[in-house]
């Protein structure tokens, strides 16, 4: 019966697509041969490596430069030299800077910095907590409102009120400016395939180009101050909003748009009355991602004098003060979790309110008004009275946290380093070193050919062409050898990420309880500034490539775990039931049903895992990974290495684009 009912549905989809069938029997044979081809490529590579080892490796010493690098330097210098006479600076960048500076300063005057002859900001802690609670309730629900109040109060108890508010001010301003551009661009990209295609490489570039590369030039364009910090943040934070908005517009059901068309709606009407309202929920998730990305930039922006928690972290680390850094990092995590939960609740609010019935809606307005009045009173109090303006207490909670973090770190350093060293050496000697040797000691054209081959076999000829272009440009950047070293670490880190991802993801996907317990930890690992945990990692593993790999795994694994958990959970209940009925044990269900069926989630997790690992390359450079990461940091630190740093940044982008295109094409192939 059910079959009979379902059939027409499926049939109808095929009806519209009109896709010729008949490739199914070929697919099986092709998959086998694909595996054979992969093996053949690897064998050929190994054999040629044995013969040609050490030739054409394109190594470049740390202080050596290529012509391209010197040219980058010259361009950078010439921009700096005529910034006072160039009309572009005088009338364009300066204006942008003024607007953004004013915006940030305005928000800072409101909540974080003393202004207009006052010794405290316009709105004190009580007012901010009140507003946070009220807004969270209005856009979300009372549960997130409580969380917001508790979270913000905790920031005060940590003794980091002003720093937190500075960070909040900067984050909100950056997110605001980002959304101002991102949402219209996203809508456009959602409506126009052409624009989407043009936009995608730019977004890739914005997301994978290490911030360090453009941090220094930004201060040339927008001077040291809030504007540069805001712009650095929004370059990194805007792409998710653009992508997700475009995706939201695209995923509005075709029938609904068609229905509007069939009624004679104009494009404008369709956009305003159908597309935008229907994608609102997803767009809010995009805003959520933008906020998270903006918070991830807090510590890096501190390197160009962005005020706030990032500064506390960076300064604490100069004297290896893990406790203080952790306390500030925790504040960032708390703020991230509050903002995340509030925006998530906001995206679901319309639906939630609807399902709760209409009678509630009637009372909503008076309640909102009452809440607004309450918040206004709190703001007034915090504006007027000292006790409500300055957070009371000395932040003793903060010092307790700092001390506890110190103790834990010390204990771990004292007791675990034996184990960790053994683990490090095992991975380094068993996996990383051989692989890296293969990549760096093979002739460049051999590695290039192998990569193109792998790309073609895995992702089709289009991916192969992209790979070839990327390999060519990588050679052009002049940092080929460093690129290969980084590539080796990246691949090893991604393998570890996927191992962790599959284990934890399956566990979480199968058990809602585990999911609920692990998820906050994963959130924390994702937003905790890497600088905070680098110091203990350094103590445990030394300044090695492995430390960088571990740091990357900590940062990237949560994403992979979450994606895989969602994938496993999305496997239809009936399929699992059928397998259980057929007598599968748990292990068989996992390996034969749940993992194969979440294959597209696994590929997506690999893709995101790789991209996240790549975004940690620069951080890795700070703890002994060398190679591209170090080049970028060095370029940021020393003028004559700027060009090389830029080239290394480009190389990271190229690696990212290459992997992204291959994995995406592979994903499309497996799901087809």
């Amino acid at each position: 019966m059910t079959v009979a009912v379902e059939k027409p549905e499926n049939a109808d989809k095929a009806d519209k697509v009109d896709k010729p069938e008949g490739s199914a029997p070929v697919a099986g044979a092709r998959r086998i041969s694909r595996r054979m081809m992969l093996a053949a490529i690897l064998v050929a590579w190994l054999v040629l490596f044995a013969v040609l080892r050490g030739k054409h490796t394109l190594t470049l010493a740390a202080a050596d430069l290529t012509d391209l690098h010197r040219w980058f330097n010259d361009v950078n210098d010439s921009i700096g030299a005529d910034r006072n006479s160039n009309p572009l600076f005088l009338y364009f960048f300066n204006e942008i800077r003024l607007v953004i500076d004013n915006l940030v300063t305005f928000v800072q005057d409101l909540i974080s910095q003393s202004s207009a002859g006052r010794s405290v900001p316009q709105i004190g802690w009580l007012g901010v907590v009140g507003i946070a609670g009220y807004v969270s309730w209005a856009v979300g629900n009372w549960r997130v409102a409580l969380l917001a109040v508790a979270g913000f109060t905790f920031l005060g108890l940590q003794g980091l009120w002003q720093e937190s508010m500075d960070t909040l001010a900067l984050t909100l301003s950056a997110v605001f400016v980002a959304l101002l551009f991102a949402i219209p661009l996203g809508v456009w990209a959602g409506l126009s395939d052409r624009f989407n295609r043009i936009m995608t490489p730019f977004l890739d570039f914005m997301q994978t180009m290490p911030t360090f590369v453009y941090l220094a030039p930004l201060t040339l364009f927008f001077l040291i101050g809030p504007a540069s910090a805001t712009i650095a943040t929004l370059i990194y934070a805007a792409p998710p909003a653009i992508r997700i908005t475009a995706h939201a517009i695209r995923s509005v059901p075709e029938t609904t748009v068609e229905a509007a068309d069939s009624m004679g709606a104009t494009q404008r009407q369709t956009l305003l009355k159908v597309l935008l309202p229907m994608s609102r929920r997803t767009v809010v998730m995009g805003i959520n991602q933008t906020i998270m990305a903006a918070l991830a930039m807090v510590t890096i922006a501190a390197l160009i004098d962005a005020p706030g928690l990032g500064k506390t972290v960076v300064q604490a680390l100069q004297s290896l003060d893990v406790g203080t850094a952790f306390n500030a990092g925790l504040a960032i995590v708390v703020m991230a979790i509050v903002l995340d939960r509030v925006t998530t609740a906001a995206s679901g609010r319309a639906e939630a309110a609807r399902s709760s019935g209409n009678r509630f809606l009637k009372w909503r307005r008076p309640l909102l008004a009452a809440g607004g009045v309450a918040a206004a009173v709190l703001v007034y109090l915090s504006h007027t009275y000292v006790w409500a303006a300055e957070f009371p207490g000395e932040g003793s909670t903060g010092s307790t946290i700092a001390r506890a973090a110190d103790n834990v770190t010390t204990w771990a350093q004292d007791n675990l380093s034996g184990v960790t060293n053994a683990f490090r050496d095992a991975i380094t000697n068993g996996l990383l070193n051989p692989f890296q040797t293969l990549l760096t000691d093979s002739p460049w054209w051999l590695v290039g050919a192998a990569l193109v081959g792998l790309g073609t076999v895995l992702g089709g000829w289009r991916a192969g062409v992209t790979t070839a272009v990327c390999v060519g440009l990588l050679v052009g950047t002049g940092v080929w050898s460093d690129g290969m070293t980084t590539l080796a670490s990246t691949v090893v880190a991604t393998v570890l990420v996927m191992l962790l991802g599959v284990v934890c993801g399956v566990w979480m996907g199968r058990s809602p309880l585990v999911d609920r317990l692990l998820r906050p930890t994963l959130d924390a690992a994702q937003v905790m500034p890497p600088f905070v945990y680098l110091v203990p990692f350094l103590a445990l593993f030394g300044a090695t490539r492995f430390t960088a790999i571990v740091a990357a795994v900590v940062y990237a694994a949560p994403v992979a775990i979450k994606i895989i958990a969602d994938g496993v959970r999305a496997v239809p209940e009936t399929t699992v039931e059928a397998a259980t009925a057929a007598g599968c044990n748990t292990w068989q269900i996992i390996t034969k049903v749940q993992l194969p069926m979440s294959r597209s989630a696994l590929t997506l997790a690999t893709n995101q895992g790789l991209i996240y690992v790549l975004s940690m390359v620069v951080v890795g450079g700070l703890v002994g990974a060398g190679a591209l990461g170090y080049d970028v940091v060095a370029g940021f630190s020393q003028g004559q290495l700027y060009g090389k740093g830029l080239a290394a940044g480009l190389a990271i982008v190229l690696l990212g684009v290459m992997f992204d295109r291959i994995t995406q094409a592979a994903a499309r192939r497996t799901s087809a």
Partner: protein, 362 residues
């Protein structure tokens, strides 16, 4: 492979009896997807290819190939075919939701293909309405706002359109659910909203794209009856797409059968069952309870000299099932008479052949 349009007078008392000017005339309509699609209808060689060959040769898919039909005012015209037959594309071509590749679509004397954007929008706003398989409702709007959506687009004031929407909501039997949201309704009720939305603008023509195939069988039957009821009440011209033969037979004054984008046969239900144009149609209609569809016209035999001609008389459009009792009860064969003219006779054998054959098929 030209479509066989059996030239037999109409069965029911449809307006076709007076041969009025059609509301919609579709002539030589083509829709080809793919690169250089517009060359396909012009090339005689390419026209002759099967869909598969065309795909291999040009990379194009011909979804609708040289389709011709006319829809009379007040008629329920059903387009039927299996998935991939191009029926959904065809109905979308009528209002250019999908742009046709070639051919004419004449609506009230005007070729819709010549309409500019503005005119097309006007037509869509006031002349046509469409009901979709997956409803296409706006989840963020209440039922009443969904129903009045089309009026809102036309620029009608809020009070007026709400009033009109409430009327239509009542017409489709959704009173009491005006303020619900679509996701709070069952599938059948959602489609009623879809129906109400289509009716709200008081269009001349209603287009249905498999509106009930996503619904449960019982609800589907209710909805079909609902359409029949509404057709009686409002008397709109309807073009109805379905893949379900019994639905087609139940609703359609005339049925167009499509296969691989081409018309196979166009005619009334008894014509399809009684004179299938080819094996495809024959196969299709095999399971139809013939007694319920065929009329005496289809089973009568010519009068032979030794036939007794003093039996009772029946009209040629009487359905077999209704005639069974009378024929079997009569001692003499029944005469089939139209306008006083004897067309043929029907005896026990003919009736039993239909009834028994039908049982044999079951």
């Amino acid at each position: 492979m030209t479509p066989a349009t059996t030239e037999v007078p109409q069965r029911r008392g449809t307006p076709q009896d007076q041969a009025p000017t059609p509301v919609i005339s579709v002539r030589n309509l083509w829709k080809v997807f793919g690169p250089k699609a517009d060359q396909v209808p012009d090339s005689e060689e390419l026209c002759g290819l099967t869909r598969r060959e065309l795909m291999d040769r040009t990379g194009c898919t011909a979804a609708v190939r040289d389709v011709n039909f006319e829809v009379s005012p007040g008629e329920v015209f059903v387009v039927m075919g299996l998935s991939g037959s191009g029926k959904s594309t065809l109905v979308r071509c009528l209002t250019r939701l999908i742009e046709p590749t070639a051919g004419e679509i004449v609506f009230e004397g005007e070729d819709i293909r010549d309409a500019d954007h503005k005119r097309l929008r006007e037509l869509r706003r006031s002349k046509f309405s469409m009901v979709f398989q997956h409803f296409g409702l706006l989840p963020h709007r209440r039922v009443v706002d969904n129903v009045s959506f089309g009026l809102e687009i036309r620029g009608m004031g809020k009070a007026e359109r709400t009033k009109r929407a409430l009327e239509v909501v009542e017409l489709v039997g959704l009173s009491g659910y005006e303020n619900s949201y679509p996701d709070q309704l069952s599938g059948g009720m959602q489609q009623r909203v879809g129906l109400a939305r289509a009716l709200a603008g008081d269009p001349d023509v209603l287009l249905f794209d498999e509106p009930f195939s996503a619904l449960d069988p019982l609800i589907r039957r209710d909805m079909q009856n609902e359409v029949i009821r509404l057709h009686h009440e409002v008397g709109k011209t309807m073009v109805f797409i379905t893949h379900d033969l019994s639905e087609a037979l139940k609703l359609g004054d005339r049925i167009l059968i499509m296969r691989d984008g081409k018309m196979v046969q166009c005619g009334t239900g008894d014509e399809l069952v009684g004179a299938p144009a080819d094996d495809y149609v024959r196969d299709f209609v095999r399971d139809v309870p013939r007694g319920q569809v065929l009329t005496l016209r289809w089973i009568m035999r010519p009068v032979e000299p030794d036939d007794a001609l003093d039996g009772p008389e029946l009209g040629p459009d009487v359905v077999v099932r209704e005639a069974t009792r009378a024929v079997l009860a009569a001692e003499k064969p029944v005469k089939v008479v139209e306008n006083g003219k004897l067309l043929g006779i029907v005896g026990d054998e003919e009736i039993l052949a239909v009834v028994a054959g039908q049982e044999g098929d079951m």
